[in-house]
């Protein structure tokens, strides 16, 4: 290979990483391509296989349907020949068995409209046969007289023709399915041979890519690295004057080659410097041995001091003056620290035994002086703290006792308050009941008032009607008066006529005598009529006058009733107001009752809280006494110890007022002047609980 072409092929203008990435990328691309091709082909084959499976099932179901149709036909014919029931049963069974297969086949043919139409046509023919002939024949076969008709129907050949047509449709469906299957098989075979070819091509391509990649990697990566490694091996072996190959490359391998070249140069420089250093090291070694000895001894002393043993010393003499002085000073330091520690330990042991009377004595300097001062101050502070603690505990004890008494009283009073509130609540409830009753009564009164008003209104209406009736009567009387006037006129005319008649009768002489008597009678009758009419007129006038008075009276009664209605209305509204006021009152009282009950609940809670605080106070008293006992352990200057205070006498009395003993109750404790016996007594009294 020519060098120029080789340089071009090694592509050292790019770094190694993108080149190797590109290489593997190409390999992955080829492999992925092969996989995709295989996947696609296999997918196609699987799809075809699914279609083939559907076709197979279709063929199987069609064959079954054909057999079932044959079985039905045979069963019917057998029944026509033999008349035996088992054939009708076989017929019905075959017909029933067809159903699920028909359903399944419809599903299988769903995406083939032509085949589905053919299948439906076939089903219609079968239905026609079954409903038009078979069922009828089965029925006719059940009667002796109609058996021949059933058979005659078969002899016509029409049912057979229908079945033959159905059978032809079914066979056609089978034929179509088989053709489809053959076509599919051919397609599958073609696909298989294609997949073999394409997979082989993919495999060859992948192999070629792998070989090229392998060759390239070996030629342009591994071989230069191996050459550079060889140079490094020779450098290690000490062969310094070697030429480094591939140094002209522009990629990482070129960098490595150049680095190896400069490494070789620096290696030569270092070997020169190492020879000079070896001489200087020999002189330093002798002094280092002596220093090492002192270091070891010093280490032992310091280690002992660190472990708390200050008795160790450096007991060796050194020729070197500096080293000797260092050893002596270290010894001095260790002995000084030892004596100070002894003094401090004496005082702190006393402190540990609760003896606060010891102090650090003597004069010290620097940090030792500060340590002395701090330590002494600490003991002083501790002493004053103990004193203060005792004083405060005594004070707290007294206060707690007082507080305990107060809390007990509070609890008792709260109890009383609660019972008073309970009574108040009961009273309020009674009040509520009575107000509710009042309200009910007012509502009833309101009803009664309304009824009274309605009655009065009705009376008023009746009065008005009475007045109208009387006025009508008055008018009737006037008409009657007119009528009697007319009667009087008639009577007058009759009288004059009678007189006239009597005159005429007189003129007639003897013949008119009888008539004269009649005329006389008529005149008398007319007179009596006139009198009667006058009497009636008088009576009518009389009654009209009385009627007028009546009307006046009734009108007054009407006015009275009007007044009654108004009054009744006022009464009703007043009673209604009373009723609503009552309701308002009842509501207010109910709210009051609820408030009282709430107050009662709060008071109960207060009582519980008061009791709890009393119990807390007693517990606090006990803890304070405990504290006092603990502080009494410290031994201090007796002149500094405070007087213990007397416990107030009211505490037991307060405790006695409690409803019963409780765990927090504390019996009285006598005052304790000598601390130790008091502590003992306290322990005894506490042990009772």
């Amino acid at each position: 290979m020519r060098p120029a072409f080789e340089r071009l092929l090694r592509m050292d203008m790019f770094p190694l990483a993108p080149r190797t990435t590109a290489l593997f990328g190409v390999l992955a691309l080829v492999a992925g391509l092969s996989g995709a091709v295989a996947f696609r082909e296999i997918g196609q084959i699987r799809a075809d296989q699914e279609v083939a499976r559907v076709l197979d099932e279709r063929h199987a179901v069609l064959t079954e349907l054909n057999a079932l149709m044959d079985r039905q036909s045979i069963a019917l014919l057998s029944f026509l020949v033999t008349g035996e029931e088992r054939h009708t049963a076989a017929f019905a069974a075959s017909a029933a068995e067809m159903e699920p297969r028909v359903v399944r086949l419809r599903q299988l043919l769903a995406d083939r409209p032509e085949d589905l139409a053919r299948f439906e046509r076939m089903l219609r023919l079968v239905e026609q046969w079954r409903n038009g002939y078979a069922q009828r024949q089965l029925e006719l076969m059940t009667g002796f007289a109609t058996v021949d008709t059933a058979r005659a129907l078969e002899v016509t050949g029409e049912p057979a023709a229908l079945l033959a047509r159905a059978d032809e449709e079914l066979r056609e469906l089978v034929r179509i399915g088989e053709t489809e299957k053959d076509r599919l098989d051919a397609a599958l075979r073609a696909e298989l041979s294609r997949i073999v070819v394409s997979l082989a091509a993919c495999a060859a391509l992948t192999l070629l890519a792998a070989i090229v990649a392998g060759w390239w990697t070996r030629r342009f990566l591994f071989r230069p690295i191996a050459e550079i490694t060889g140079v490094l091996d020779r450098l290690r072996a000490g062969e310094l004057a070697v030429a480094v190959p591939e140094a002209d490359r522009r990629d990482e391998i070129g960098v490595i080659a150049r680095a190896v070249a400069s490494f070789g140069e620096s290696l030569m420089e270092r070997m020169r410097l190492e020879a000079e250093a070896r001489e200087a090291a020999a002189t330093a070694a002798a002094r280092a041995a002596r220093v090492g000895d002192l270091q070891a001894r010093l280490g032992m002393v310091v280690d002992a001091a660190l472990k708390g043993d200050f008795s160790a010393r450096i007991d060796c003499r050194y020729e070197d003056r500096d080293l000797q002085e260092l050893a002596e000073r270290v010894n001095l330091l260790v002995s000084g620290v030892e004596s100070e520690l002894r003094d401090l330990m004496a005082v702190s042991e006393a402190l540990a035994d609760a003896d606060l009377t010891k102090r650090l004595a003597g004069e010290r300097q620097g940090d030792f002086a500060r340590l002395q001062d701090d330590f002494n101050r600490m003991v002083e502070n501790l002493t004053s703290l103990v004193v203060e603690l005792e004083t405060m505990a005594s004070d707290v004890n007294a206060t707690v006792s007082e507080f305990s008494v107060g809390a007990d009283e509070l609890a008792a009073r709260t109890d009383q308050q609660a019972s008073s509130l309970e009574e108040a609540a009961a009273t309020t409830e009674e009040l509520t009941a009575s107000v509710t009753q009042n309200s009910e009564h007012s509502r009833q009164a309101s009803g009664l008032a309304r009824e009274a008003r309605e009655l009065a209104e009705k009376g008023r209406e009746i009065t008005a009607e009475a007045v109208a009736a009387m006025i009508r009567t008055e008018q009737a009387s006037a008409r009657m008066s007119d009528i009697t006037t007319i009667i009087q006129q008639i009577a007058k005319q009759t009288r004059s006529l009678a007189i006239n008649a009597a005159v005429q009768a007189k003129r007639a002489g003897e013949e008119g005598r009888g008539f004269a008597v009649v005329a006389q009678e008529v005149r008398m009758l007319a007179d009596r009529s006139n009198d009667a009419a006058r009497d009636i007129n008088k009576l009518i006038a009389n009654s009209t006058q009385q009627l007028g008075e009546c009307v006046e009276l009734v009108k007054r009664a009407g006015k009275m009733l009007e007044t009654i209605v108004t009054t009744a209305q006022r009464v009703e509204s007043t009673v209604h107001e009373i009723a609503s006021a009552n309701a308002q009152q009842a509501h207010s009282i109910k709210e009051m009752s609820a408030a009282t009950v709430h107050l009662d609940g709060m008071t109960q809670k207060n009582a519980a809280l008061a009791e709890q605080s009393a119990r807390g106070a007693r517990a606090l008293a006990g803890r304070v006494r405990d504290l006092l006992d603990r502080v009494a352990v410290f031994r201090i200057d007796p002149s500094l110890r405070p007087e213990r205070r007397q416990r107030p006498a009211s505490l037991p009395a307060a405790a006695a007022r409690r409803r019963g003993p409780s765990p927090g109750d504390v019996p009285p404790v006598p005052p304790r002047v000598p601390p130790a016996p008091v502590a003992m007594a306290a322990a005894e009294s506490w042990s009772e609980f």
């Binding site: 058996v147 021949d148 008709t149 058979r151 129907l153 002899v155 016509t156």
Partner: protein, 214 residues
């Protein structure tokens, strides 16, 4: 079966119902020639409307209608002749596929049951299609095609209501007078007759039944 030839000879002469009585004397004469022991023939007036109606009722069976409707109408003359010849030939043979087929038909079965149920009143019954070919028989006939006989000629072409009563005939074997009554078989849906039927009615038995007040 034995009376077939004489019946044929009778059928050669066209006789109608109107001239029945006139022909009776001739038939009687002929019958007395055939068998001197024959009693006088009962009157044909015994074949009354009631009897005809009962015969019609027999033909109203669906078995008859269904069978006749299924018969081919387009059958050719040559084929008819060939079938008739085959029938005649099969009568003298062991193998009788055509005779067996017709005799085994449901209609034949029905007609046999009718004959049996009549207890001797009705003899052989032949039902033929509108072309005169046998569709069903209660007993085997001498020929397959009735289109050349009065059985067909006096019924099917006449119309759905046609009735033809032949001359009485003495059956020396059973010593009874028989008369052949032929009827057209109407289509229940109307139109042309579906075919015809021929009944051998036992006149002697009919007379006996009349005398017994049946």
């Amino acid at each position: 079966m034995q009376q077939e030839p004489s019946q044929k000879a009778l059928a050669m002469r066209p006789v109608n119902l109107g001239a029945g009585l006139a022909a009776t004397a001739a038939a009687l004469l002929l019958a007395s020639v055939a068998n001197a022991a024959a009693p006088p023939a009962p009157p044909l007036s015994l074949i009354d409307a009631r009897l005809i109606e009962s015969l019609r009722t027999i033909l109203k069976s669906e078995t008859v209608t269904v069978t006749l409707r299924a018969r081919r109408a387009d059958i050719g003359e040559a084929e008819i002749v060939a079938l008739d010849r085959q029938w005649t030939k099969e009568r003298s043979q062991q193998r009788q596929p055509l005779v067996a087929r017709i005799m085994a038909s449901p209609l034949s079965s029905y007609l046999r049951s009718v004959e049996a149920a009549s207890l001797g009143l009705i003899g052989k019954i032949i039902v033929f299609d509108r072309r005169g070919l046998n569709a069903g028989l209660s007993a085997v006939s001498s020929d397959y095609w009735q289109g050349d006989e009065d059985k067909w000629a006096k019924t099917v072409p006449v119309g759905p209501g046609a009735v033809f009563v032949d001359q009485p005939e003495w059956d020396p074997e059973h010593a009874v007078w028989l008369v052949q009554v032929d009827l057209a078989i109407p289509d229940p849906d109307g139109g042309e007759p579906l075919g015809g039927a021929s009944f051998d009615v036992n006149l002697t038995e009919l007379e006996r039944r009349h005398a017994a007040g049946l």
